[in-house]
Amino acid sequence: MSSVDPTLSQEVMSSIVARYPRKRSAIMPLLHYVQSVAGYVTNSGIENIAEILEIANAEVSAVATFYTQYKFNPIGEYHVGVCTNTLCAVMGGDAIFSALKEHLGIENEGVTADGKVSLEHIECNAACDYAPVVMANWEFYDNQTVESAKTLVDGARAGNPPAPTRGPNHLVTYKEASAVLAGLNDGLAGEGVQAGSATLLGLNLARKMEGK
């Protein structure tokens, strides 16, 4: 019995498997790829991966459920994560997260009725010098306020979200971002700043000190 999901490109999946010396290593990018097509990890996607890797469905599920970025229910076209780890929380992340829940009328891990925006509180996203940080489809929105975060989700619901602070010129969809995480190149690497102002702080100071 074949477990091929006709919505998935077997060719793309074969190319992902071919990256690795041992094919089981491809399980994570394959799961990202399933999310790029279906928007979340579907049962048929799990079965298809299991067939390709010649392992049991349960083994694929066991891996998929370990990692928080794999979702098992449809998620928003724009998935918004508010960092509420200590530093961002203290700097305003808690206030932003509770304001967004109220503004959107959803709870943690909820999706708006129009399917446009989902919300999640996330852990440290390696941008503490830009706190408080909000991620949308895992793109950086730095130094957020309650107002700017509301503008972000309102824009997302209207289909024209503001561009990330450090990212491409427009915010890609959750499916499109998932393809990038599957290792597929979307050609947008050249867009956006090379560094934000906090990243350059020490360098700029060093230049000033040199000049003196």
């Binding site: 780890n85 530093l87 010098d129 060093a206």
Partner: protein, 426 residues
Amino acid sequence: MATLTPILSAHWDEKDSFTLEGYKRHGGYKAAEKALAMDPDAVIQIIKDSGLRGRGGAGFPTGMKWGFIPQGDNKDHYLVVNADESEPGTCKDTPLLMANPHVLIEGCIIACHAIRAKQAFIYIRGEVTHVVRRVNQAITDAYAAGLLGKGVDIVLHIGAGAYICGEETALLDSLEGFRGQPRLRPPFPAIAGLYAKPTVVNNVESIASVPAIIANGAEWYQAMGTEKSKGATLYSLSGHVNNPGQFEAPLGITLREILELAGGVRTGHKLKFWTPGGSSTPLFTDAHLDIPLDYEGVSAAGSMLGTKALQIFDETTCVVRAVLRWTEFYKHESCGKCTPCREGTWWLVQILRDLEAGVGTEADLEKLLDLCDNIMGRSFCALGDGATSPITSSIKYFRDEYIAHLTQGGCPFDPVQSTLFVGASK
């Protein structure tokens, strides 16, 4: 006055710093050319002589790690770069890769030559889409330019949200396609790592530091820093400061010096507590401003240099709230493999929640310390140990504040006062 030494960050202010052209403009890939013409053991010796130590937290000498790879064993060897930057407060590898992915690729080429590996893997956390794009494009461009594919191949592997995968053996299991849980050691990765083959696992900043060392020599590098902590490194300043950001300086700089350069603690406020190297490193206070931020100095003062993630909190911050939130993080990220961490972090959260809400008793503080004592050194990997750091250090320095929650029946702090946008009209 303290000096800054932009090396990794030297050209980050150029718009095309992340491109092959931008990297080559400043001598990019010349160090690889030089290294490839050398005997691999000579490359290892330069890195040993330079004094470079692991920048991912543990500070293990990089050259020594490379030297552990058995030679002439007729096995495949692997280099695995740990770009799973997830330790709370740590934010150096992410901007580095966004601004200059090619320095990592060049470092990989050199490291692979040294350890006789043909294959490198870069494991990046999955929550940084644009960093993934930049690294993926850089790898593609390096292949097109013939820099990769002629002796060294690089595979980009993207994680999916699991702090534990920053632990090197959990990372290897994850890369092999399993749940990311740490392995028993020995055998160490140098003997049986990825696919049970000899493997070096290095942090992004460690590998990215290699090209400059090869280009300028070991003496140049070890002229910077302190006696046992050589070279320069990225310090990441965040939190209640006027100017947060990345500062590349010789090891041994102090927080006081960095704060002076950065314009100090948030105006009108004073330093209360800080982490020297992420949330897993015991907290410091304003009594530790002059500790040299090198591996030995921080360790002697009772903490760890870790990832040099300087998270600054001023007097508006409730330490109990801060510690509870970190503890919730460790509970969430505990992989569940070992009992002390899986059960221990769960209990730590329960007790801390009560304490923050002011419904616990003073005996709960002793219970917390007792639990920490049973997790520290008894869990499978460093995640459990790290979970105890904020708790034990905060009780040491701020016991009165915990007790104030109990006597007042709740948190005495107004969380609005500690936000970035306090005073703004929402």
